[in-house]
Symmetry: none
Subunit: 201 residues, 4 copies
């Protein structure tokens, strides 16, 4: 039990530091100190910094997506599911708060990662999310809620739209062009309308 606690301490420390400073700018010694353990101890629990990242990624990011499974299997309408999914992703983003340095490492496999398994893990998140979105879309098309179309294509389009909306809102825009974000108090519902109705008059 003690062991589990110490392991968790390190996961949390790593998560917090990766988030705040990014993977490259977080040193193993920083993690050890933040967790209140010795540097060597990190290597008792994780084979390398990279695999520690993999574990952080799995536990702090991937794990949340368990909820999605339930959402997919629930009895709501596809539209309702889509709205819930959007809310879920928005919630995920928000929990990172202002420390989004990790995002690039999280959403795309940085070339700082040499470990192929880790690269795969990161890409797997995309598959997982894509599959979730895809099944909602497929269901909506099948039951007539959504316009008939290539479901994979639509899923990709919607997911892309969603992801960039979030990324833009929380990461890029604040850095690139702070004014835009402050000015617009975009609502997710409003965002959803565009998805649902398209842009054409």
């Amino acid at each position: 039990m003690e062991k589990k606690i110490k392991r968790n301490l390190m996961i949390e420390a790593a998560f917090s530091l990766f988030l705040k400073n990014g993977y490259l700018n977080t040193k193993v010694i920083d993690i050890a100190e933040e967790a209140g353990v010795g540097k060597g101890t990190v290597y008792e629990y994780f084979p390398s910094k990279e695999l520690l990242f993999a574990e952080v990624f799995r536990l702090k990011i991937l794990s949340d997506y368990g909820e999605i499974e339930k959402l997919i299997r629930s009895k709501m309408s596809a539209e309702k599911k889509l709205l819930k999914y959007v809310a879920f992703e928005a919630k995920n983003m928000k929990k990172f708060g202002d420390s989004l340095h990790m995002l690039p490492d999280m959403v795309m496999s940085s070339d700082a990662f040499k470990n192929e398994a880790l690269q795969k893990t990161i890409y797997d998140l995309w598959v997982l999310r894509f599959n979730a979105m895809h099944s909602i879309i497929k269901e909506g098309i099948a039951n007539g809620e959504f316009l008939p179309a290539d479901s994979e294509l639509v899923a990709m389009s919607v997911m892309g739209s969603l992801n960039f909306f979030l990324l833009f809102k929380y990461d890029m825009m604040p850095k690139a062009c702070p004014k835009v974000v402050d000015a617009a108090e975009w609502e997710f519902e409003s965002f959803s309308q565009t998805i649902f109705n398209g842009i054409k008059a």
Copy 2:
């Protein structure tokens, strides 16, 4: 003239290596050797590896966006402009071929970059693209082609959709789930339909 040629040689060498192996995995000596010059020569032309990247970014990525200005000012319908813009971005993606290791560095400012000017430059590309999309959308809404809505929100949504579509198609999906991509011969027109008409029946 000679000097311009040698400079170009280095830019091309760097671009090619950054693209293939990523920024971190490309050493200055690699670039020098690829360009057929001495290591010191690289520093005669560029003050640092980071600023060489900045120049590669500016010349190989940003420069193409000059075309966009013309597109925006042309007399086409907003819908036509949007389709052209989508085609333009798709063409850009394609030119990277199969070597997309640089993409993460390109689309998001890697935490390997300490130079703030460089970080800004990368974010600026987002602003540039966003502004292009935004003016198309605004124009379409103004002339009744597009549904009335918050133009910034719609622009973001469409751009996100487009970007992820491209990124997915060319970078992530091939790695994460090769089958999906090979199977579906997604057409950009088809993609555009979803954007224009939404998904709701």
Copy 3:
């Protein structure tokens, strides 16, 4: 304890090499090898080569000057104090033996040093020595042992005389004009006579 020993090993190695070859001609790897440790180890104990020098300077040069305080506060006559001080400086010089390459770095802040704190430390030694000399002279003038005069001026004059005498005897002359030194077996007492009595008949 072990740690103190290893630190000392490095200080001694650095001191010996700086002394023999000078600061610039001593590489960090040389110090590490001389101390029998790895290159990285040097950086575990000292933040930079320059700050290692600062530490060597502090421990091997500055520390000795603690004795001076005691001398100043003792109950001897000013003349006796002055003689003791001269002997003290001579002893310091002698301990460098024949390896005096470090002297220029020690007596004047080399332009190889960028660290301002280090430059200050080196200059501070001059202040320390000046102050010691100055208080001896002031005391001597006050109690009538020495001729009334501007005490700072006299202190500077005496100290300069002393320093160059030592420097000449041990560093410059042997290189510039070996014969002079070998021929003359200058005595410090004899030197002191000139200081005390002046040169005028």
Copy 4:
């Protein structure tokens, strides 16, 4: 003739920069630019940076000491000669103005210099100065102006006193302890009194 001018331009540029920034912090390209010539041109006139320094040293520092010869051979009293010599050295110091970074390189052979001939040249200046002082002292003792003593020892003592007085006043003290210098408007005559009369009451 043209050639002589260009050579001089470089000497002056080098002198000025060595003086302001020190030998190590002056790059060959800086000298070339300051002199308004190409970098390669420097090497047409001087075999190396080090030997350029040697030339600067010879022309800008050593050359002045030609005057001394005349002083020595003149018919003044030894005391008068000594006073003149002190004034001469003071004048030399003053001409460096506030840019005294070069002093350490000038007065002691920096370990940045590998060239033995250069090291010898620098030490030779000491010999030259020592010999000048020595012959004045010897003369003074011989004709009864000065107290009988070991002339070499006295020469060394006086020269040291003088040198440090100047060095202290112009280089060290301003950096180490600016107040002392500003406060005391030391006069050279006053300094000479200490030399002549000693300090003993």
